[in-house]
Amino acid sequence: MWFKAPESCNCIEPQWPADELLVKYQYISDFFIALAYFSIPLELIYFVKKSAVFPYRWVLVQFGAFIVLCGATHLINLWTFTIHTRTVAIVMTAAKVLTAVVSCITALMLVHIIPDLLSVKTRELFLKNKAAELDREMGLIRTQEETGRHVRMLTHEIRSTLDRHTILKTTLIELGRTLALEECALWMPTRTGLELQLAYTLRQQNPVGYTVPIHLPVINQVFSSNRAVKISPNCPVARLRPHTGKYMPGEVVAVRVPLLNLSNFQIYDWPEVSTRSYALMVLMLPSDSARQWHVHELELVEVVADQVAVALSHAAILEESMRARNMLMEQNVALDLARREAETAIHARNDFLAVMNHEMRTPMHAIIALSSLLQETELTAEQRLMVETILKSSNLLATLINDVLDLSRLEDGSLQLETTTFSLHSVFREVLSLIKPVASVKKLSLTLHLASDLPAYAVGDDKRLMQTILNVVGNAVKFSKEGSISISAIVAKPESFKDARIPEFHPVSSDNHFYLRVQVKDSGSGIHPQDIPKLFTKFAQSQAVTTKGPAGSGLGLAICRRFVNLMEGHIWIESEGIGKGCTVTFFVKLGIPDRSNESKLAFAPKVMGNHVTTNFGGLKVLVMDDNGVNRSVTKGLLLHLGCDVTAAGSSEECLRIISPEHRVVFMDVCTGLDGYELAIRIQEKFKKRQDRPLIVALTGNTNKVTKENCMRVGMDGLILKPVSVDKMRGVLSELLEHRVLFEAI
């Protein structure tokens, strides 16, 4: 307190000594203020030193100074309550001035500093928020990663099995576990496709067959999108269990699971095919929890649904292929069995045929042979007629048996053509000679026309070719009551193949082969054009044949066609109708023999010509005849045939000159017993049958006694005189082949 100074002393006295209590309180307060003011900077310094970061040190210094001075001021104030000296007053003043200065500076400084300090605060707040956000995001990522892990594990579980049930069950279990679901259910479409049936659930072991119609709006909604859709817990698919919770049932989500429709496997269209069928997967969160479906959980569900679809399709494909494979295996086994059965059947059939072949032919042979022999005995006219009928019938039967056996061999392809080189002309002539008798009896004229460019020899199966021609010509004769039959054979030119009637026949000629075209025209009863296709069928009889006419066995043409086909040819019949005759034409492929084969054919008998044929190549023969003329004639005959002939005029001479080189001895037995005795003597001379020449009797006697005698003495043959060249040739061939020849007397 300032008072006016008295003039006497330097002391300053307070004015009022009366307010001593107030002064006392002031005194204490100042003391404490000073104390506080001195301790605050100390505290500040202490804590600043402790903290690492403090950007405003100089502010602190300033502030410290300010406070210290304030404290000093208040301290010095203590002394002013009582009488105090002038120095104290000066110090006080100085302190106060200093304090005032510093505080003003500080006040000015604070204007700068406080906004800064405030902004620090806001930034701190901002950073705290950010940290919280990052924390949240981290949490989310971790959750997602975990979800991903769950999905991978689930997928792995699902895909590790190809069994449908396991897949679906595992899915539900894993989902239930991952998402902590209360219930998880799978509804599959029924066979009719009109309803969904509860197939699997998580908690219930054996779901009872709940069904739900497929066209509910909620289901359509789920099926129309490939996302997981939240549905109401009250809809039929979600009401699986009686509602147990007190409060709200948990949220329900449903997602579609595409099913592969096996009947329309379209790999490239998948999954956009419109006729898809879906299953429905329903997932329920626990009731009475406040959980909600999070986005990441929904995504997990969608992914799982897709994976399940893929796994199911794999399982379905596998099932299908297994089924197909099993079916194929079964079929294989069945086929194998069938094949073996067929083979057994064929073997059995062949064995049967082989046996029956022999068994059937033997009696037939006996019948035919004995009937022929019977024919030659003394018979009454009536008996002869009977025997002839027997013979004819048995011949027919024998033919039929042969035909049947042939055909069955032809059918199963076991018949093979034999290939030999043969003379075409002789085949036709033989056919002609066989048919001529029948034709002349029926007064049919038979003409044969062989083209001039027809090769003399051909390579092929002559027997079967002849059989074919014979059959065709035989048919022509059989079915013609009058008129003429013409046979023509030409070499087929390529133009003749372009016949409209045989459009499918396109043969190719080559250097080694030619096609023989044979046409048989008859003026007989003809065939109705409708019946023509049936002709070649086995056993089919033509109805056009009158009941009186001869009946065919029905097999002939079928066999012909088979033979013709085997010879890579074609056969067909044309007829203009009933009564207009018919024409049978066929092509067969024959080989052309090369030059080297022709020399082998030198032995083929030539009908024409007077020139010497060296058939018998120096065959050594002996002729015994006591009649000079006869002897010369026989010798000349044998010489003409190329034999090396020795002639003997008597038995003694014969025995003298006979040697093992002589292959045949012709002896005349007209002159009594000489010949027979000679035969016996010759046989005695040559012990072994092989060394001995063949002994053949020549006789003009046509009685059986001679024949019996010859046979009795062991002769090998008997020929009737006169002998023509051809006859002798035939005789020699026959003798050399069969070593026996007894001409029928």
Binding site: N610, V629, G636, L639, H640, C670
Partner: protein, 151 residues
């Protein structure tokens, strides 16, 4: 005469002989045996036949002249003759021989004698015809032609 005419004559003669039964198919068989290696085969055989015939006929005459007649002998000769004539294709001769043999078997002397006469007659006819034939053939060959064969 020229070759063609000769050949025609030959053909006609041969045809006539066959027609009238002097020769049969056996003769043409003989002709077939004639070729380059034995060009005169037919002539040789026929010559042999003529010799043989004369022999046999003489034998037969002698045998029938004997008393008593040995029919078996006669038959043997006739049999021989029959054989020869058959070999050359002398048909009429052969037929007479057959009849002759029957008479021999029946021991009919008169019949045999008659047959013998017939035989001689036939033989001479045949001989003349054949000789004419051969002459024609020689003429044709001399003229450079070929002998036509009987078909």
């Amino acid at each position: 005469m020229d070759v063609l005419q000769l050949q025609r004559k030959l053909r006609e003669h041969q045809a006539a002989m066959i027609r009238e039964g002097f020769l049969d198919d056996q003769f043409s068989q003989l002709q077939k045996l004639q070729d380059e290696s034995s060009p005169d085969f037919v002539i040789e055989v026929v010559k042999m036949f003529f010799d043989d015939s004369e022999n046999l006929l003489n034998n037969m005459t002698r045998a029938l002249g004997q008393v008593p007649v040995d029919f078996k002998q006669v038959d043997a000769h006739v049999h021989q003759y029959k054989g020869s004539s058959a070999s050359v294709g002398a048909a009429r001769v052969k037929n007479v021989c057959a009849t002759f043999r029957n008479f021999c078997e029946a021991q009919n002397l008169e019949g045999c004698v008659r047959c013998l006469q017939q035989l001689q007659h036939e033989y001479s006819l045949l001989k003349n015809n054949l000789q004419y034939l051969f002459r024609l053939q020689e003429e044709i060959q001399a003229a450079g032609g070929s002998i036509p064969t009987i078909e």
